[in-house]
Symmetry: C2
Subunit: 147 residues, 2 copies
């Protein structure tokens, strides 16, 4: 059956972010739809942000494109250009290597949900606002030292 | 600016389907979001189906995964398992090579819209209901003869 029963797909708020950097994503509940549905050309996540939650720390990938489409509720897209409200049906694309860190923040009093499409990180990821960097699949300080 | 202004992205109902096989997709109006936004790891289309329109002829790809999420309106997903109503927020995945032909049909009286994610067809595509086949990037009859 191609239609997915989201309720049967495990939902997680797990994160590899170290220490307090994990706090903004504690209310980010995601389902990995690609492994659950037998596709692997790209990754697809169904993400619910509880009030106050962020999609991630603000970041950009050196080598992986990302795309999001809002399904319900309201989020604020923060990037180098400023802040942009995202409503259901709104789409945003984040080209690899563009150096423009981005994050979705739920500043509303209700859940919001979106679909995110991308690929597993195989390149460095940059976090312009915090002393964190992703390289070789692990988070380190910007000077390369371990957490 | 990562948020896409859909109104500025060209909309097309073009199809390569030969003859009358093109009729069900005349009311399929799509925007190619990936080239418009600078991403190329995967393709993303924003598709509006007018009342009566189909997303495609029923088909399955040998080598490309597909994923859709409904944004508005209502469509009927037809595949080997039967018919399934798709409403806003509903997701469906179509794994490559599964042999299960699929199509979204708008049988309602209003437009519906969805996002489709995939990759450009580089393998054969099979159309179980009609005498058409995609191979080497062109449509032929099932016996390999030209239209």
């Amino acid at each position: 059956m191609p239609k997915l029963d989201l309720d049967t797909i495990p939902q997680s708020n797990a994160t590899g972010y170290p220490g307090d950097y994990a706090l903004p994503v504690q209310g980010r509940w995601y389902r990995r739809l690609a492994p659950a549905s037998g596709i692997d050309d790209f990754g697809v996540s169904h993400v619910v942000l509880k009030p106050g939650a962020w999609s991630s720390q603000r970041h950009w990938h050196e080598g992986e494109d990302e795309f999001v489409v809002m399904l319900s509720g309201e989020a604020v897209l923060v990037d180098d250009a400023g802040e942009t409200v995202m409503l259901p049906g709104d789409c945003a694309a984040f080209p690899k290597g563009d150096g423009n860190g981005h994050v979705l923040q739920n500043r509303s009093g209700a859940d919001c949900a979106f679909i995110a499409v991308g690929r597993a990180s195989q390149t460095d990821c940059h976090y312009p606002d915090i002393d964190m960097h992703l390289t070789d699949g692990r988070f380190v300080h910007k000077d390369g030292s371990s957490f």
